[in-house]
Symmetry: C2
Subunit: 489 residues, 2 copies
C-alpha cells in the first residue's frame, strides 16, 4: 500500500500543487511508488498532504496529463509510468506503436518470448532457424584463429562498405553462383537482418508497398511495418511466389518493392523454379518494380543446386541481393552482404556508418579467411550431407506421427518444413502446452497473422533424437487440441 | 546526347503513351539515359516516336509525376531518377531529408568525404578521433586469439542483451569506476554509436528535445535530427556544460533528455568537475530530466582520474550510461555497452534483436578476455603514458605555430584540443586547401553549425612527427585565409 508521510511547505514560493506534483513524480521515479501500484484515495491524500481537495486534484490532473498516473473507472488512480518509460510512448518512434490493433504486437511478444526461452538448454527447439552447434567447424575455426594471431597488425574502423579484402572474396564467391559483381557494389553488413534494416530505414519511402510471399519471415519482423510500409502478401504455389496479382496491385501504388526468398523459402521451404524466376524478372522489369532478393539459404541445397539467383538474371540493376554466413556457417560471426547498384550501395554504406560504424573487423577477417580458399565449399559439402540425413529423418518421423492430422512439403534444401494441420487449431494454446512439455515451437501465425493451422518445423537445430522425441510429443498435444476444435464444429 | 531510335507499336493493345512511358522508364532504369541528362526537345521526340505532340505530353507528364523527369524552366526536361533512387525521396524515411535547409546536409557531406578520405594513407589526419594503429596491442591480442583457438565450441546467436560472460566482466569493470550495476542492467552494443541509434529509435519520442553541450559530437550525426528530435545546445565553461538555462527551457518541453560527454568532451576536451556533476544530477532529478551519459573517454585521463560518473551518483535510474572499447582499445572490435534501468535495457535489447541480432560473438569473446583479468588496466596504463607524450608534444607545437592566431585548452585527457582562431575563417576553404596540401582536418562547424573559427585537433591518431609537420603546414594555410578575412574587415 502506498503511503504519504510528507506534506508541502506552505511557506515555500513554489505553489502547493506543484510541490505535490514533484513529490509524487519523485516517488514514481525512485520506484518507491512502482508502476501498476494504486494510489491512496483522494480523501486520504488530501488529508495527509493537508491541502484542499481542489489543490490535490490540480496536482493529480497534471500527473495524469503527463502520463504518470491513470484513472481507472471505479478503481481510483494508478501509477503507470516513470520518466524513461514516459519518453517513449504509443505514438513515438514507431517501435512501440500497436500496429494492426495488436495483432503484430502479440506475435511480436511471442518472438520476444522465444528469444528469451532459447537460452534454456533443456527445451527441445522444434522450429529454430539456425544450424545445430554440432555443425560448428571447430577444427577449421581454430586453424583460422591461430592464423589471425600472426597476421593482424591493427584494428581500426573499416571503410564504409566494409573490408575491401572481404568484399573481394565475396565478389569471387558470388561468381561461383553466377553473380558477376565488383567489390564496389558490395557492402558488408552484420547479417542479412541488418541489410533489411538499412534498406528499410535508408532507402524506402514511408508508405512503400512491399510485395512478398505470404507467409513470410518478414511478417515476423516489425521493422517494415514500424516504418509505415504496407505489406501486400502474395500466395505461394510449388514453384514459388504467384505473380498474377502483381500488375493490378502495382497500378494503385506509388512506391513499391518486392521482397522474396526464392531459395528454400522461410517458412515454407519452397524453392522457386527457374521458369518462375524468369517470369518474375520480366514482370518486375516491365513494372519497374525493384526486388529485394533474400538468398541466405541458397547454399543449403540438399538434392541439386538451385536455379540461378534473380540477381544473376538482372540486367537492369533492379535487384538488391542479400547473402549471409549466418545460416550456413555461424550466426555468431554476424557477417552478411548486400549487393546492388553502386549508387544504392553507397547510400546504404553511408547510413551504416551513421548507425554503427561497420561490422566487427575481427569477424570480417575470419569471414574472408573462410571465403578466400576452398574451405567454405568443403565445409558446405559436409553440411549438406548432415542436413540431408536430418531432413530425411524428420520427414520419416512426420509420416509416422502426423500422417492423419497434417500435411507437409518435403523441402529440397534450407531448414524448414511447413506443417499444415488438417483443421484449425489454437496455436496460442499449443504453444503454451508445448512449453509446459519442454517443447519450443514456431507457430505459423508469426509468418502469416491469419494462419491458424501451421507450424514451422526446422530439422536444422535440435538433435535427431530430440527432434524425433519432440515431434512425437507434439503430435500428441496437437491431437488433444484438434479433438477439441473438431468437436466444437 | 540522348537519342530515340524506336517507335511505339500502333497495333499493340497497350496505348501509345503507355508504351512511350515504358520505353523512357526503361532507358532511365538501365542507365542508358542517366540521371542529370537532358531529353531531346518535345518536337524532336514527337517526330522520332511518330506520335502527336499531345500523346507525347501525356507520357511525359506521367514520367514527371512519377519522379523520373523534371522540367527546368527555359531548359527542357531532365532525367532525375531511376527506380531505386525513386523509392527513396526527400520526404522519405528521414535520412535523406534536408534538415535545416541543408545546413546539416552539407556538414554531413563533409563527414562522408572524411569517411572516404580516411582510407587514403598519404593524408595526415589532424582531427581523427581514434587511437593510432601504433597503440594496437598486437602481442596481447595474439595471445587472446590463440586462447580462443582452443576454447570456442560453437558460435550461435547470443542472448538479446549479449553474452552473459561479457556482461559479468563489464559489471565487474564498472565497479572499479564506482558504478554498481548487475549484468541484467547491461546490454552489449556494436559501439556507443549503436547505443545512441537504439536509444534514438527505440526509446525517444519524436519531437523530444535533446539538451546537449554546444559544440557536441552529436551535432555531427544526423541520427537524432533525422528522427525529428530537437537539439537545444547549452554553452560550456571550463567546468563543463552550463545549467542555468535548463529549468526555463524545460518548462516549455513535453519530452526532453540531456546528452552529455562529461569526460574529455568531444570536441572541446573539457572535463566536467565534480561540483558541476553534483549540480547536474540535482537539477535533472528535480526536473525529472533523463540523462544520456556518453563516457567513452573516461579511461583516457592523463593527469589524474576523473570524478565519478554521473551514473555513479544516480540513485533514481535517470542515467543511461554508454561505454566502449572503441576509443581505448580497438574500434574494429565494435564492442560497447549501455547501462540503465533494467526495463529500459530490456526494451533496447528487444530493438537490437530486431535490428541486427546482436554484436559479433567473436568480438564479445575477445572483449571479455580483455576485461576478465588485469590486462585491460595494464594496457590502459601504457596508453596513458603514450597519449600524454603526444598531448604534450602537440601543445608545444601549437604554442610555436599558433600563439598569435589562435587559442586553445590543454586537455586533461581524451583526444581533443579545440583550437579557436582569433578571427572567423572560411572553414570550407581551409578544408579544401588543407586537403590539397595532404592534410585532413575536422572543422568546428561539424560540431556546431555556427562555428566559423574552430578546429578539432586530435593528438591521438597521426604520428608525432606528422602532427608536428601537419600543424606547421596548417598554421601557414590558416594564416593566408585569416589575412584575407582580416583584410575584408
Amino acid at each position: 500500500m502506498l503511503t504519504v508521510n510528507w506534506k508541502p511547505n506552505k511557506k515555500s514560493n513554489i505553489s502547493l500543487y506543484k510541490q505535490i506534483v514533484y513529490y509524487i513524480k519523485n516517488k514514481i521515479a525512485t520506484g518507491a511508488w512502482p508502476v501498476n501500484s494504486k494510489l491512496p484515495s483522494q480523501r486520504a491524500m488530501a488529508q495527509a498532504f493537508q491541502v484542499n481537495r481542489s489543490t490535490l486534484i490540480t496536482a493529480l490532473d497534471e500527473l495524469i496529463a503527463d502520463g504518470f498516473l491513470k484513472s481507472k473507472v471505479g478503481s481510483g488512480l494508478w501509477v503507470i509510468n516513470n520518466s524513461w518509460s514516459l519518453l517513449s510512448s504509443e505514438n513515438c518512434v514507431n517501435w512501440n506503436s500497436h500496429i494492426d490493433q495488436g495483432v503484430i504486437r502479440s506475435n511480436f511478444n511471442t518472438i520476444q518470448e522465444i528469444n528469451r526461452l532459447e537460452i534454456n538448454p533443456s527445451l527441445i527447439r522444434l522450429g529454430t532457424g539456425e544450424l545445430s552447434p554440432d555443425f560448428y567447424p571447430e577444427k577449421e575455426m581454430n586453424i583460422i584463429f591461430s592464423k589471425l594471431s600472426g597476421s593482424i597488425a591493427s584494428m581500426g574502423y573499416e571503410e564504409p562498405k566494409g573490408s575491401l579484402f572481404l568484399r573481394q572474396q565475396i565478389s569471387g564467391y558470388l561468381k561461383t553462383v553466377g553473380i558477376n559483381t565488383s567489390p564496389a557494389s558490395i557492402m558488408i553488413v552484420s547479417g542479412a537482418l541488418q541489410a533489411l534494416q538499412l534498406t528499410c530505414f535508408g532507402l524506402l519511402r514511408k508508405g512503400t508497398t512491399v510485395f512478398l510471399e505470404k507467409p513470410s519471415y518478414l511478417f515476423s519482423l516489425r521493422l517494415f511495418q514500424s516504418m509505415k510500409m504496407h505489406f501486400s502478401g502474395l500466395s505461394l504455389d510449388s514453384e514459388g511466389i504467384q505473380l498474377a496479382a502483381v500488375s493490378d496491385l502495382c497500378m494503385n501504388k506509388n512506391a513499391a518493392v518486392l521482397y522474396t526468398i526464392p531459395c528454400f523459402h522461410n517458412p515454407t521451404g519452397i524453392l522457386m523454379t527457374e521458369k518462375r524466376r524468369n517470369d518474375l524478372i520480366a514482370l518486375c522489369q516491365y513494372e519497374r518494380l525493384p526486388i529485394i532478393e533474400d538468398d541466405v539459404y541458397r547454399e543449403l541445397w540438399l538434392d541439386f543446386p538451385p536455379p540461378p539467383a534473380l540477381k544473376a538474371m538482372d540486367k537492369e540493376g533492379l535487384v538488391l541481393y542479400l547473402g549471409s554466413l549466418s545460416k550456413t556457417l555461424s550466426p555468431g560471426l554476424r557477417i552478411g552482404w548486400i549487393v546492388g547498384p553502386e549508387q544504392v550501395i553507397e547510400q546504404l554504406a553511408d547510413i551504416k556508418m551513421q548507425t554503427d560504424y561497420g561490422a566487427s573487423s575481427l569477424s570480417q577477417w575470419v569471414a574472408a579467411e573462410w571465403l578466400s580458399n576452398g574451405l567454405y565449399q568443403e565445409y558446405l559439402d559436409n553440411v549438406r550431407v548432415q542436413l540431408r540425413i536430418r531432413r530425411n529423418a524428420v520427414c520419416k518421423t512426420l509420416k509416422t506421427y502426423f500422417s492423419d492430422i497434417a500435411t507437409w512439403n518435403i523441402p529440397q534444401g534450407g531448414f524448414y518444413i511447413w506443417l499444415s494441420f488438417n483443421y484449425p487449431i489454437s496455436l496460442k494454446q499449443l504453444f503454451k502446452i508445448c512449453l509446459e512439455q519442454g517443447l519450443l515451437i514456431n507457430c505459423g501465425n508469426l509468418y502469416d497473422h491469419l494462419s491458424s493451422q501451421h507450424l514451422r518445423i526446422s530439422y536444422a537445430y535440435a538433435s535427431i533424437t530430440d527432434l524425433s522425441e519432440g515431434l512425437y510429443r507434439l503430435s500428441i498435444l496437437a491431437r488433444t487440441l484438434l479433438a477439441v476444435s473438431v468437436k466444437a464444429k
